[in-house]
């Protein structure tokens, strides 16, 4: 399930849905990304997130499908917000349920790493001086490549 929205999301609701997967679920791993005060700039007051409607959903669904082929997972939910976000706002949620924790951790981290470098979102940091389009980090690119190097678990 992939949801792109301007509204905030409710992690309680998402967690409740993940728990409904059934008695085979032994592990729920969740990641939430929040707007931090230090990014490329040191005095971030908010973000503006632009995306490519249609392609975004396709790319993220593709990452979920890849994760499901590589690891044994029972459900995956990804939500990403776009538009204007304030400091400490929730940006992105990835929730995975699986029988075993190692599959859940790997799938959750893979989806986040690959989303960062392949899903068409662009983040503009808002500071007192104005807006600054964030540069992609080499470390993010390396994290995604690291998953390609690894043989499936």
């Amino acid at each position: 399930m992939v949801i792109i929205q301007t509204d905030d999301f409710d992690t309680t609701h998402e967690y409740a849905l993940l728990r409904q997967t059934g008695p085979g679920t032994g592990a729920i791993v969740t990641f939430t990304g929040l707007v931090r005060d230090r990014g490329d700039c040191n005095d971030v007051e908010g973000l503006y997130l632009e995306h490519y409607p249609g392609m975004t959903e396709r790319v993220i669904q593709g990452l979920i499908d890849q994760a499901a082929q590589r690891w044994s997972i029972l459900d995956a939910r990804v939500i990403h917000r776009v538009g204007a976000l304030a400091l400490s706002d929730q940006i992105v949620y990835v929730g995975i349920c699986s029988a075993h924790r190692s599959d859940g951790f790997a799938a959750c981290q893979f989806i986040m790493d690959a989303l960062k470098t392949t899903a068409p979102f662009w983040k503009k940091e808002i500071t007192r001086e104005g807006g600054h389009w964030v540069e992609q980090k080499a470390s993010d690119q390396q994290r995604t490549e690291h998953w390609l190097d690894q043989a499936p678990d």
């Binding site: 396709r58 989303l115 392949t118 068409p120 979102f121 662009w122 389009w133 992609q136």
Partner: protein, 88 residues
Amino acid sequence: MNSNTMTVSVLFFARLRESLGTGELQLTVPSATTVDGLLTILTEKGGPWSQLKGGAPVMIAVNQTMTTTSTLLQDQDEVALFPPVTGG
């Protein structure tokens, strides 16, 4: 448009959209134009358009799938040009 030309839409996002001053163009180009050929046509507009070749890296998606400059375009293709992505 005739059989020797085709129409593609070209989308721009983020820093590229802002610096080019547009988010979308409809272009009629010769049949069998590649993405690289399209970029050449666009850079000929001069000014900020020249950044599309030899400037900061430009990512390319055709019909919402990432691709490279050698891709041959088809009539009605949706081409998107954008900076490296920074979501999450």
